[in-house]
């Protein structure tokens, strides 16, 4: 039996070791790409080893080092972190395969550099998932920002640099300017930063101060993309599509909402959160964000930009879930991390496959493309249904819990907003599919039979599409895994 600490360290060390092997084999492209996929697979299998222990109610933990008394880099694997780590490392395998196909197909340069920063990003995301206290989480949170910056700027063009600058500026600015002060104030007021079931603030922090802290935290976690600090996410779309798929639909943005949930549940505690005047304020900000981002998404003709605004909107579902302070909603928030991840990564994989096969990025150019790329557009359809939350896709369960949560807490207005937003989801995610399958291709373009993107692109998007379907029946085990995290929410 391998000890808990060893497993945690192994999981974190794998991508770092991968970097060295990657650099050593960078001269042989095929070998290097095999190393990337192997690294991802090894990491996933190690993270998977932790799953039975967490399911048995254990909380594997390890302390790496103590900076000075009370301030440690330490890890504890609890259900929510377990889910996030599994999600990120599992989807990394598929993304690694996809990236090989995409980077070659789209003729991108500097593959080795690309994979190296991808490894660091996954290392940071896993560190966030396993962090035992807010300080550790902050360190990995910043590492994730810094390691994804070169990925956003990957193409090296002026637009890429400009987008990357917005990305870095907003994420660093909010985290250092708002999140760090909130962390320091929390430490100063409570004397601890450990994630504790039930929260650490109740009885120690005056609700008025707590209300201010909540706003600082929620806006400080820029990766959750609450308006008006959401601009970095559309800006990040200049990155190669595998980055948008795994990092800006899963790892980075989910790290943001994951942190929101962690802070709400383990630092504030839901009971305390109820007392704060600003939790309702943040709830309405989240509702505003999810509606207006949907409206903006409708205006976007660029497919990736539309998906990005859709992500902004979906992230706010999870922030809203945390602020609804109810058992159903919190469970829904946790589940939505997974459901949306599978749906959105499929959509991005499709966008990338379309680009690789046809160099098309605008939705208005995609008329009739479904006849040429039926698999891709069918997967797009499935992913869209999952994000919208239609059976038989996994997405239906998280939305269901969210609706129930909002109804339970008596926020009729929020229920209404969720309904409207779902309708908007349909309005901006289904038209590309309709155009592709039902409209005729423009004059001059030959139908010319089926010509999909390379197999290494099509296979991953089929797999994640399948995942959306599987999650429909697998929702129960997921909910069971997450339930202990709810037990402390006191909902």
């Amino acid at each position: 039996m391998v000890s808990d600490a060893t497993l945690i360290y192994l999981a974190l060390a794998t991508p770092l070791v991968g970097i060295f092997v990657l650099l050593a084999t960078s001269r042989w492209a095929a070998l290097r790409d095999a190393v990337v996929v192997t690294t991802a697979a090894v990491m996933f299998s190690i993270v998977l080893q932790l799953l039975p222990r967490v399911r048995d109610g254990q909380r594997p933990s390890a302390t790496l080092l103590e900076l000075f008394p009370g301030l440690e880099i330490a890890f504890v694997v609890e259900p929510l972190g377990m889910v996030f780590a599994l999600l990120a490392s599992g989807l990394w395998i598929i993304t690694a395969v996809y990236a090989i196909g995409y980077m070659r197909g789209a003729k991108e340069l500097n593959h080795t550099r690309f994979h190296v920063f991808f490894c660091i990003a996954l290392f940071s995301a896993t560190g966030i998932a396993f962090s035992a206290n807010m300080f550790s989480l902050f360190v990995f949170y910043e590492a994730l920002t810094l390691s994804t910056y070169p990925l956003v700027a990957h193409k090296g063009t002026e637009t890429a640099k400009k987008g990357a600058r917005t990305y870095l500026g907003l994420l660093l600015g909010t985290s250092v300017g708002l999140l760090l002060p909130a962390i320091i104030a929390t430490w100063w007021l409570t004397g601890t930063l450990d994630f504790t079931p039930g929260g650490i603030m109740a009885g120690r922090v005056d609700p008025f101060v707590g209300s201010i802290l909540l706003v600082l935290f929620m806006y400080g976690i820029g990766k959750a993309a609450l308006m008006p600090f959401h601009r970095w996410l559309p800006a990040a779309m200049v990155a190669p599509t595998p980055v948008s798929a795994l990092l800006h639909a899963v790892a980075v943005v989910k790290a943001g909402v994951f942190t929101v949930l962690k802070v709400s549940v383990y630092l504030f505690g839901l009971d305390y959160l109820r007392e704060l005047v600003t939790s309702e304020f943040i709830l309405y900000i989240a509702v505003f964000t999810l509606l207006s981002a949907s409206l903006v998404a409708m205006q976007q003709d660029n497919l990736k930009a539309r998906l990005a605004y859709s992500t902004v909107s979906q992230l706010s579902y999870i922030v809203a879930a945390a602020m609804l302070v109810s058992e159903f909603a919190a469970l829904g928030g946790g589940m939505h991390i997974v459901m949306h991840a599978f749906g959105k990564i499929t959509l991005f994989f499709c966008a990338g496959a379309i680009y690789v096969a046809t160099k098309k990025t605008e939705i208005s150019d995609m008329n009739g493309l479904g006849r040429r790329m039926p698999v891709t557009f069918f997967a797009f359809f499935i992913g869209a249904l999952c994000v919208i939350g239609v059976p038989p896709m996994g997405g239906v369960w998280s939305k269901w819990h969210l609706f129930m949560g909002a109804y339970d807490s008596g926020y009729g207005l929020v229920v209404l907003a969720l309904i409207v937003s779902t309708l908007l989801n349909i309005a901006y995610l289904i038209p590309p599919v309709v155009r592709a399958f039902l409209l005729p291709p423009p004059q001059g373009e030959q139908a010319g039979g089926v010509r999909e993107a390379p197999l290494l692109c099509v296979l991953p998007l089929s797999l994640t599409g399948l995942g959306c379907l599987v999650l429909f029946v697998m929702a129960q085990p997921l909910a069971e895994l997450l339930r202990p995290y709810l037990a402390v929410t006191g909902g």
């Binding site: 000075f68 360190v139 660093l172």
Partner: protein
């Protein structure tokens, strides 16, 4: 032998200085002697720090003359800490100096250069080690005169003007200090710091003593480059030879801050300085302005050396801010920052020294694209730059953390917010350098450039590694800084 350590701390360097001057014909040998001297000094500093680690103090009567008639050397947790900083920086900078100085200083003056360096070093050590007010002034002059010479040896002809400017300002500073010390002597008849502390309470309530305090505070503030008395510093650091900039930026202002602390806490006492004369309300606005304004100026500098020099003025602001909070924690944060900033800024200036060595200059245009050809140098700059900004897991973060705690403990939320905001400004000016070196194409007329030689890289990385090591395992500097703060406050604290 060990009982003579306090004397040896100064005497070794002071004796070696004329010897090195005589070796002017043999630059390598001059360098070797200086190197050995600096290492010996460092060893003495370590031994002294170990002796006072338990909170005790070491007394040494110069020439066997008992104080207050003779000159007393007295080492406690506070000045042992500063001695260690000076010793460490000089010990690390000397291996770096050989190649750098050979390139920047004419061969027939290298011996003279090292001689002046040793005098500056001995002067700074003397200021720190002595417990005699007049002796402090004398050593201030020794180190200052030597520094003027060192700065004037910069390759750029503007170095001479910078040195002259420093001379004028420095002389005003030490003159003010001397006037203040004179007033104290008139009123008490003694120059020994401990003796002064014992006798001052009888005469505190006189205009003379208040004037003495003012003269000393202003004089020392000039030497430590407190905003707005900092105008000499950017030019002096900007035009001095690389090695001199490394050494002075890491030690000179720190020693002046130590002198301020010694007078404020040990001689005049906390009560007189902070309660009666409300030093907080003098120091804090200047500290805050000193953090914000030079940081903003640094953002607009096109020469990396000047950029870092303005950053130094801002960092002095942080240290003064900690003092102005008038709390044990604030004092400890300041004392801790003496060390953390010394290693951080020395590492940065060494990286700059590597760039100068290969590129001949460090304007942003000149270093464009340098990272590709000098990856190790620029990596050191980035790591040390992170420490300057105060990113977690670097030494700079540890100080910022305690400084913030101290500000919050004083109920000063706006100050805490300002501290964070200025960290962002630091991020901007460090980022400008990184952007130029990593993301811009090298200038068309760029010479074929290689990585800096190992003789420069290794010392640079020794200090760079320290910024990480003392950011991750911060117990040693923290306990030393606590010890130093207790020595200044005179009472044990519950931290």
């Amino acid at each position: 032998m060990t009982e003579h350590l306090p004397a040896l701390q100064v005497v070794i360097a002071l004796t070696a200085a004329p010897i090195v001057m005589l070796l002017n014909r043999m630059p390598r040998l001059a360098w070797g002697v200086t190197l050995v001297t600096c290492w010996a000094t460092f060893a003495v500093a370590i031994m002294l720090l170990l002796q006072v680690a338990d909170g005790s103090a070491v007394h040494y009567d110069m020439g066997g003359w008992a104080p207050p008639w003779g000159i007393e050397y007295r080492i406690d947790g506070a000045n042992a800490w500063v001695l260690l900083i000076i010793g460490l920086v000089s010990a690390v900078v000397m291996p770096f100096a050989r190649r750098s100085v050979e390139q920047e200083i004419p061969a027939d003056r290298i011996g003279l250069f090292y001689s002046a360096f040793l005098l500056a070093n001995a002067g700074l050590l003397g200021i720190t080690v002595t417990a005699d007010a007049f002796n402090i002034f004398v050593f201030f002059e020794i180190s200052a005169l030597a520094s003027y010479a060192l700065i004037a040896m910069g390759r750029d002809r503007r170095a001479i003007l910078a040195s002259y400017q420093y001379l004028v300002m420095g002389t005003i500073g030490t003159t003010f200090l001397l006037i203040g010390i004179g007033f104290l002597y008139i009123m008490t008849g003694t120059l020994n710091l401990g003796d002064l502390a014992a006798r001052l309470p009888e005469v505190t309530d006189t205009r003379t003593i208040r004037a003495a305090f003012a003269f000393i505070a202003v004089g020392v503030s000039l030497k430590l480059a407190l905003f707005p008395l900092h105008l000499w510093l950017p030019n002096a650091y900007g035009f001095a030879p690389s090695m001199v900039t490394v050494f002075l930026s890491a030690t000179a202002t720190k020693v002046a801050i130590y002198v301020l602390l010694r007078f404020v806490y040990t001689v005049f006492g906390f009560e007189f300085s902070f309660v009666e004369l409300s030093m907080t309300w003098v120091l804090m606005p200047l500290a805050l302005l000193g953090i914000v304004v030079p940081s903003l100026i640094a953002v607009f500098q096109d020469d990396v050396k000047r950029l870092l020099a303005y950053s130094s003025v801002a960092q002095v602001g942080y240290m003064i801010l900690g003092i102005s909070l008038a709390s044990a924690l604030g004092l400890m944060a300041s004392v801790l920052h003496l060390f953390n900033h010394a290693i951080t800024k020395a590492a940065l200036f060494m990286a700059v020294g590597c760039l100068v060595y290969r590129l001949g200059g460090v304007s942003l245009a000149r270093i464009a694209g340098a990272a590709e050809r000098m990856p190790w140098t620029m990596a050191a700059f980035v790591v040390a730059g992170l420490s300057l900004i105060g990113v977690p897991l670097t030494a700079g973060f540890v100080t910022k953390w305690y400084l913030l705690q101290a500000a919050l403990m004083g109920g000063l939320w706006p100050v805490a917010a300002l501290l964070l905001a200025t960290s962002l400004i630091a991020a901007i000016y460090i980022w400008r350098v990184i952007e130029a070196a990593y993301f811009r194409a090298p200038p068309d007329d760029a010479r074929e450039v290689r990585e800096a030689p190992l003789a420069l890289l290794i010392p640079t990385w020794v200090l760079t590694a320290m910024t990480i090591v003392f950011g991750v395992w911060a117990q040693f500097p923290i306990s030393a800084a606590r010890n130093a703060a207790e020595a200044l406050l005179g009472v044990p604290q519950s931290w």
